[in-house]
Symmetry: C2
Subunit: 384 residues, 2 copies
Amino acid sequence: MENFSFMNPTKIIFGKDTIKEISKEITGRKVLITYGGGSIKKNGVYDQVIKALASFEFYEFGGIEPNPHYETCMKAVDLIKEKSIDYLLAIGGGSVIDATKFIASAACFENGDPWQILERKGEIKKALPYGTVLTIAATGSEMNDGAVITKAATKDKLPFSSSLLYPKFSVLDPEITYSLPARQTGNGVVDAFVHVIEQYLTYSTEDTTFQDNMWEGILRTLISEGPKALKEPRNYDARANIMWAATWALNGWFAQGVDQDWATHLIGHELTALFGLDHGQTLAIVLPGVMRKLSEQKSVKIKRLGKEIFSIKEESSSELIDKTIQATEDFFELMGVKTHLSDYNLGDEAIEKVGNRLNERNWKLGECYNITGDVAKEILKLRK
Amino acid sequence: MENFSFMNPTKIIFGKDTIKEISKEITGRKVLITYGGGSIKKNGVYDQVIKALASFEFYEFGGIEPNPHYETCMKAVDLIKEKSIDYLLAIGGGSVIDATKFIASAACFENGDPWQILERKGEIKKALPYGTVLTIAATGSEMNDGAVITKAATKDKLPFSSSLLYPKFSVLDPEITYSLPARQTGNGVVDAFVHVIEQYLTYSTEDTTFQDNMWEGILRTLISEGPKALKEPRNYDARANIMWAATWALNGWFAQGVDQDWATHLIGHELTALFGLDHGQTLAIVLPGVMRKLSEQKSVKIKRLGKEIFSIKEESSSELIDKTIQATEDFFELMGVKTHLSDYNLGDEAIEKVGNRLNERNWKLGECYNITGDVAKEILKLRK
């Protein structure tokens, strides 16, 4: 196990009818509510938040798109400066929360264009405090310090993080997720599943028995509860277990001391930026390809995944690996998320574009830093 | 899953040679180091701490006994007041850290005798900040807000907690535990194991699939790594996995939303207070009795423990329960911790005393509040 130093200061308020608690948590005077396309106005979440904020001066910034744009975020920053807003409240899923993290940073950024934060040229030295009301179990953004932002002008989708960016609190009410479309429920479970895989299914010389056991606990939960939530959208227990497990898939605690991959995410980001696929959809396509291409390097963990999580009986090494990759793909399909480029009418041209963009960035992805743009092309060719 | 609201603000500094980090974490000017019987002076930990504190004004308070005494703690409080100490640093295991939690609270307690905190008559409104350097994997006290203190005069061993009592930081260097006597290694693993069981092996009408899966991850770790550490005391990976798993067995996160038992601990506390048994020794005696006596109430989880953790093959319900209880007992014995009262020359007289003390307190223990002093006597009679 590698040395580490870590804390996670986010307070979690979990359960039925908990949105009303936010009034006790917000320490600012002027609050900006951030949200997306308006589903919160249909499912009652918006009304609950407005009621809870009765004693605050508050403003609204809606219309944050999926894979949120830098350009959109900067409009919120203008509003914050104009109104001297001192606290943010994100109501949404990963996109809204990620956008809010960037807005919180950009509003306090004093050295030019905040896009520099994404280019790793500008440091976050201060950020506005914020809380979240989570509306989809997926990204873990509700309890971590990272986010991904897209510059629409250049189609660059890039991650950033800062220890100043943990939410002060996050409200996780599983009932909010009852009204999610099946596509979003599926995408969310796939996203959380792949978050675990990126931190578990690695080649490593470190002994991380404890973390591996905990990752498997999260995977088991997603595999047993995910299909339940698809079949019975109003099954509270399934929704609660998924919501809480998804938070743990990316809140940083079990990432400590372990090697990490993230190639699937970073290749997937290009598919989203260039062709508009949902984030979860890209992961379901890319991961089986990464597992196949890196099957030798990752063989110990792929076999462990097969035996422990998919209960595949002892077979030859190559059979076990084949069946495990297939079982992973089958799980994504079971969650209603397609696993091939052709499902979205993408082919060789798309593969070239994605690979070339990664080559241009000169990225070497994965826990062994051996996935170049050319290797990504090979991975995607396995997923036509 | 029940509603909950929780945060855990402790920073963990984990790994080899990390004690030197404490100088960056301590925010006070005058530091009191608290410790126990002096083993830290033999294994080099004391020297490392002193070196790291070179730039601080610091004082020492050693001699904190196992199952720390209120009377001892109050002497430290006198020293704190005399020297205007503003930060504490606990170097030790659960006893030293628990004592430090009480000292931190008592030093700021302004309404009479701080023993009232243990009697639930006095509220903790303020506490001195403190950090810890952990020397044994066991109690989880390094990342939670609870503690247990004994009044020597009356042999009352009582728990208390306050959200003001999380350590600001805890240093977990697994190498420190290389020199632990086998008895302490065994006790520590048993303690962590039983912490999980108290929060997992319960009768519950709630669906806590996620938490159950995570508890099982901790149990798996303790069962695979515990015996390794006994056989190879200087096995870093085993020590690291145990240390980190033990912290998670009682840091509060997976306790959220679940029912809890704690009967084994509270019956065990009486055995320690009256007869001086190690804490871990009492747990290894009491737990199999609790499982046996409550086997009907706890049957679902006992069977799950048997199948998932001890890999007991499907059998009749009663056989599965019997074998699971036996496997639990066998694991404790494998860790070198005895499981019967007779191993400590205790019998009917001791059982009477323990049960009567619980009856006097009018406690009704367990997740169903059905373990009175009389039931505790029946439990202990199964453990002669």
